[in-house]
Symmetry: C2
Subunit: 123 residues, 2 copies
């Protein structure tokens, strides 16, 4: 039995659901943090986001991000790893993810987005 939770296919990703998912400041912060990780492995462990919110609240947001097609979840033992579905999103909505991430970066202070330093300090 696969322990990988269900993900929508590329064609099942819908624009209103993606925009709604991104309209939450914590989910926006998760997406922003994953985008910063893209030049490296693109993947982060769920525990890497503990500075953003409580565990059960984060689990809820991770599920929303997975169900709307923004994020891929991989289960490995007792760990869960997440990454942006960059190829699928860029194919479905060219330029949208980058525009949202650029806009979020511009408002990093207002949105209280964490820098890499903050993440390390919160460990």
């Amino acid at each position: 039995m696969s322990r990988t939770p269900p993900h929508p296919t590329r064609e099942q990703i819908e624009l209103p659901m993606v925009l709604d998912c991104l309209s939450d400041p914590i989910r926006l912060a998760i997406v922003y943090q994953l985008a910063q990780q893209e030049p490296v492995s693109g993947e982060l462990c769920c525990g890497d986001f503990n500075a953003l919110s409580g565990k059960s609240n984060l689990a809820y947001h991770f599920a929303k991000l997975r169900e709307c097609g923004l994020m891929q979840t991989r289960v490995a033992g007792t760990n869960r790893f997440v990454r942006l579905r960059r190829d699928d999103l860029d194919a479905r909505f060219p330029g949208l993810l980058d525009a949202v991430i650029t806009s979020a970066a511009k408002d990093a202070d207002r949105l209280r987005l964490l820098s890499e330093r903050d993440v390390v300090e919160a460990d």
Copy 2:
């Protein structure tokens, strides 16, 4: 007394509110229709959207679009005219509005976006 309803200033426009506002299919259709109008006057009369939904429902969506900063409303006699706040949005969130409109156009059938022909027929 000015009859112009209140609008947020450019600096008061917030990314999560804009994304939330755009996550509704009817509001997305209104924005899309206004974007198609930009090469002409950029402005449409509220009645031009009657094919999208009922009048009171549309009034609610127009208010949401105005309050989040996506749309400018101008009152002239008994008419209300609306336009996208293109300059403000492009200054606050470069590329975002265009990416959303391009993505919506790509999914026009799924989102049941009206073509100009449909709008004329619905008059």
